[in-house]
Amino acid sequence: MDAALLLANLANPPVLFFFLGMLAVWLRSDLEIPQPVPKVLAIYLLFAIGFKGGVELHKSGFDSHVLTVLGVALLAAVAVPLWTFFALRRRLGVPNAAAIAATYGSVSAVTFIAATSLLSHLGVSFSGWMVAAMALMESPAIVIGVVLARRFGDESATSFEWRELLREAFFNGSVFVLMGSLVIGAITGESGEASLAPFTSGIFKGVLCLFLLDMGLVSARRLAASREIGLFHVGFAVLAPLLHAALGIAVARMLGLAAGDALLFTILCASASYIAVPAAMRFAIPQASPGVYVPMALALTFPFNVLVGLPLYLAVINHLWK
């Protein structure tokens, strides 16, 4: 069961292209997808997934089930950074613990998209409005991380304006595009969907392949260059997603989510942010080392989730749900 799913995941083109990117770095190929194209591909993916999620929301509406799930997702985005911070504080110091807490409390949109791609690949249905849960879970951990850093750390060292931080947390480019596309999708509904489908759905999986090829390149490069990463960090970067996934699965079961939605909820808990969070941390907790929290999320947790985590979590869900 497990092995079959693992294979099915590995035979999904986006995952294969991710692996191809990592291979390119290991074989020291000079392959690159030059900037700023990957940035625009990321905007495209957020645009497409946000828009499609908005259209789904238009169809389903905000019933009590949807609202409950969104509320619980928000709670998870508050709980994860809190426990993470207190678990790491002794060992890594307040600034790094706070930054890692924010990183793992927030979510990785690309991992979420990889999860939807796996579900489509396997023909498992899921609710488009789970994108709204993702959008809600991006920002809170940033604010919590900074509050913790100031409360328990050297307050004078974090000189910044709250206005700036809140803007960074809630209006940074990726959150903004995702949220905006979600709202536009919800406004335009089926008519918008029909006219945009070739762009937002037709070429989606192909663009995802190209983007994951780049992600494979970048994450393997970052892994090779990460000198500040020790065994403890590696352990955390692999165990934290497993733990968060276990909790996510338990909560999803209690909420009565269907298998597809359960996987999406689980991956939101288990993934770590390497886009929105680092930008905010660099600005608000400059004493924390980006050479630690970025490679943990980007070069360890992300590949782990994409290559191993997704099929594993789904196997567990399939086992429990049936």
Partner: protein, 97 residues
């Protein structure tokens, strides 16, 4: 030609806006910015290949009259202290037109 100080500041792309605002507040009316600069320094490698502008530097170049140098440095130094980066000053001649 007029003797000027050629001031060069390399710093995180995300901090560049603050540097520009600081310079403008000091009355600097001319400067140029090169946005995509990678590099290596005390805070590690800035490889510029990420999806955000974290890990990317920008370079600002401004030619300023010698008497304004002290003020500029006094204003820039705290930013560099907090955020990293470098500031180099060279003597140059400005071709008046």
């Amino acid at each position: 030609m007029e003797a000027v100080k050629r001031i060069e500041i390399i710093i995180d792309t995300r901090e560049m806006r603050e540097v520009c605002r600081t310079l403008e507040a000091l009355g600097v009316t001319g400067y140029s910015v090169i946005r995509d600069v990678t590099g290596r320094g005390d805070r590690g490698v800035q490889s510029g290949d990420e999806l955000t502008d974290v890990f990317k530097n920008s370079l600002l170049l401004t030619a300023a009259p010698p008497e304004s140098l002290a003020g500029i440095i006094a204003a820039i130094r705290p930013i560099l202290k907090r955020r990293g980066g470098v500031c180099l000053v060279t003597d140059a001649q400005w071709v008046i037109h």
